[in-house]
């Protein structure tokens, strides 16, 4: 080690590391914060999001839970009721169905039921999303269930910067947050980026414009943001300028950014990988149609998963999911409308 000061080499970090840093920093910042989940201790979680936390903060603050999603969530609510902040990990977001009642009926409503006496700083987070061959039970995006359950914030970052900043914001929010992490992005090299060394948060409820454009707006979140960006690149080749918005947060929703974009483009496609019927894409289409009808020069559109489960083998999986090709084709249809 030399005493000479050298310019630090810029270190790019992946989405997974960003999440891990968020947890480590919040645990350090808030002695009443606790993490619990299955295999999150010594193992550091199925994907390593909690890597190293137990070694630093002990097994009372980083707790390996029995395979009991409902108890993981319900006890987190109890801890929150008694002054703590809790990160509750679902090993895969698909398993949230096993703790469903505790989320929608116990956790989501606690603040409301008590007319504000109690608030519940619990973040339920877990790996989500398809495209990785996870099949029916390791691929879900089931965010619509929770968007339809008042009292929950629902968010989904798509970049390392947002992953860290939004997880920190969620842990400080004071409301229960369902935090969708995109497991296919965890270690994706192409999206690694430098992260600020100082503390920062990304406020929940603010969308980001990922690419500016003037002919059509593509709105998305999670993995599909990258599909939209790729589609935008292809569309550029045929002279169509697409704006790409990353919602980041579904509840609360940044309608303003979306409407401003449509004011410019007059055309919109919402893209997400959840089943179509009663999914969030439909919700956004409904918001746009009811509130920004006058801005539209063509019908609003959506590209979503078909109303099927996510099948296993690749050709089947891709057949039901949004792809760059499908987005491009739909954009061309809408632009020519």
């Amino acid at each position: 080690m030399s005493a000479t000061t050298v310019a630090p080499v810029a270190v790019k970090k992946n989405y997974l590391t960003a999440l891990n840093e968020a947890l480590a920093e919040e645990m350090a910042r808030n002695p009443l914060m606790l993490c619990q989940g299955e295999d999150i201790g010594k193992l550091g979680g199925a994907f390593g999001v909690t890597e190293g936390l137990q070694a630093t903060y002990g097994d009372h603050r980083v707790v390996d839970m029995p395979i009991s999603e409902a108890a993981i969530i319900g006890s987190a609510v109890g801890m929150a009721l008694n002054g703590m902040t809790v990160m509750a990990e679902m090993q895969f977001i698909d398993f949230i169905s096993c703790g469903f009642d505790q989320i929608v009926n116990m956790m989501a409503t606690y603040h409301y039921r008590t007319a504000g006496e109690v608030h519940i700083p619990v973040v339920v987070r877990g790996p989500a999303g398809a495209y990785g061959g996870g099949a029916l039970y390791h691929s879900q995006m089931n965010e619509a269930w929770f968007c339809n359950s008042p009292g929950l914030k629902v968010v989904c970052p798509s970049t390392p910067y947002d992953a860290k900043g939004m997880l920190k914001a969620a842990l400080r929010d004071g409301n229960p947050v369902i935090f969708y992490e995109i497991k296919e992005l965890y270690r994706k090299r192409e999206i690694e980026e430098e992260l600020p060394t100082e503390d920062y948060i990304v406020p929940l409820g603010k969308a980001a414009i990922r690419r500016e454009g003037k002919d059509i707006t593509l709105v998305s979140y999670g993995q599909n943001v990258y599909h939209c960006l790729d589609a935008a690149a292809e569309l550029e080749n045929v002279g169509v300028s697409a704006e790409v918005i990353d919602l980041r947060s579904l509840v609360p929703l940044d309608e303003e950014t979306v409407f401003n974009s449509i004011a410019k483009t007059s055309r919109v496609i919402v893209v997400n990988e959840a089943p179509m019927t009663c999914g969030f894409a439909g919700e956004l289409v409904a918001r746009i149609s009811t509130k920004a009808f006058h801005l539209l020069d063509a019908p609003p559109s959506r590209v979503t998963r078909m109303d099927t489960p996510v099948p296993w083998v690749k050709p089947l999986e891709l057949h039901v999911l949004p792809t760059v090709d499908k987005i491009v084709a739909e954009a061309m249809r809408i632009v020519k409308f």
């Binding site: 603050r61 029995p66 109890g78």
Partner: protein, 374 residues
């Protein structure tokens, strides 16, 4: 070791098993009066409902009062409780003593509880949810949803957090015997057992879950047998005997507080009416009249009275004043209850009736917290 010290040890052991033997005369009479209070609350609400002054469903705690009174009596003020639909009196009886006007006491006032029952603004939850779904963070009462057994994991989390913050609180959760069939019962108690959390689950076994008898809910002779599956303490109390409930719950509380993990205390009792007040007539379809009659015989007030007479704490006219026992709400009159209880209740009801309803616009509020970020 001398024979004498040996017998003293045995005596201590005996005392440990029956903490009620150490209760003073005053305490015993307090318990007796608390039974009246719990009973009168119920009787009075039934009457108020019949007069059409109340909405919502009353799940009567009639005949099950010894469970609430006996289990709450020995708690520390800093302990938590989690009552459910049949436990309305628990909300104001937590940390309650007659005549002691402790401004710091950790229970709700009768005014608050009546405001809840009447759906008024003064309810701790501003009447957003009904009847037994109130609670209070500051008073350490967990708010239930309707989903049975759903508060047990919350209770476990509460005491976990308490322990983390240097406390030594226990939490009593109340559940019907039918509710023990829920998956969350298992997950929560299993978790509490693994982490040795001081959650005491009081099972109020009143033989019926709505229209379903206990043997269709639970495969073992006693519901307390469920404890065996977790290797935890399981006790059975005579739910009609406030002293036995007190003893068994105290035993469980001490066991759990000492770091030995959760426990289950089954209190055997008997449901006096239909499942809820809407079910009183229909209940005859599935429950033989004779069974009801039989069950009525061991009224907790009568059982307690008998014991107090044996102890010499009730004598002369006191022995037979206020004969509330064995009477259902229709048969009871105010003469069956001590005047101060009637007055206590009147005050609560009057307060509630004079309170405003929450404004309609409040319905939009408090979906999300918007307070100071920590």
């Amino acid at each position: 070791m001398s024979a004498k010290s040996g017998s003293a040890t045995a005596e201590r052991a005996e005392q440990a098993i029956k903490p009620s033997q150490n209760l003073s005369k005053e305490d015993c009479l307090e318990l007796f009066k608390q039974l009246y209070l719990a009973r009168y609350f119920d009787v009075r609400l039934i009457k108020e409902k019949k007069r059409g002054r109340l909405r919502g469903t009353l799940y009567s705690s009639h005949n099950q009062e010894a469970i609430l009174v006996g289990s709450l009596f020995g708690l520390a003020a800093t302990d938590w409780i989690s009552p459910i639909h049949r436990d309305m009196p628990a909300f104001f009886m937590k940390d309650f003593r007659f005549g002691v006007d402790n401004p710091n006491r950790l229970g709700m006032s009768i005014e608050e509880v009546c405001c809840q029952v009447w759906g008024k603004e003064g309810s701790p939850g501003r009447a957003r949810d009904n009847w037994s779904h109130i609670g209070s963070k500051s008073k350490k009462i967990i708010h239930s949803t309707s989903m049975l057994a759903g508060t047990i994991p919350v209770a476990a989390g509460v005491v976990y957090a308490d322990r983390m913050q240097g406390g030594n609180a226990v939490c009593l959760t109340y559940n019907g015997e039918g509710s023990t069939a829920q998956g969350i019962f298992h997950e929560a108690i299993n978790y509490a057992a693994v982490h040795k959390l001081p959650v005491i689950t009081i099972v109020e076994n009143n033989q019926w879950a709505y229209g379903t008898p206990v043997e269709m809910e639970c495969p073992t002779p006693d519901v307390a047998d469920r404890a065996k599956g977790y290797g935890i303490l399981g006790l059975i109390a005579d739910g009609q005997d406030v002293f036995d409930v007190y003893d068994k719950v105290m035993q469980a509380v001490e066991h759990s507080r000492a770091g030995n993990g959760p426990s289950i205390v089954e209190c055997k009792t008997f449901r006096a009416y239909g499942h809820g007040d809407h079910d009183d007539d229909r209940a005859m379809k599935y429950r033989p009249a004779k069974e009801i009659e039989e069950g009525r015989k061991r009224d907790p007030i009568a059982v307690c009275r008998k014991r107090l007479i044996e102890l010499g704490y009730l004598t002369g006219a006191d022995k037979t004043s206020y004969m509330a026992e064995g009477k259902n709400a229709g048969e009871s009159s105010n003469d069956d209850f001590p005047p101060e209880i009637i007055e206590f209740m009147n005050k609560g009801i009057e307060f509630a009736m004079n309170s405003p309803m929450p404004a309609a616009e409040e319905a939009e509020q408090w979906v999300f917290w918007d307070g100071d970020k920590p």
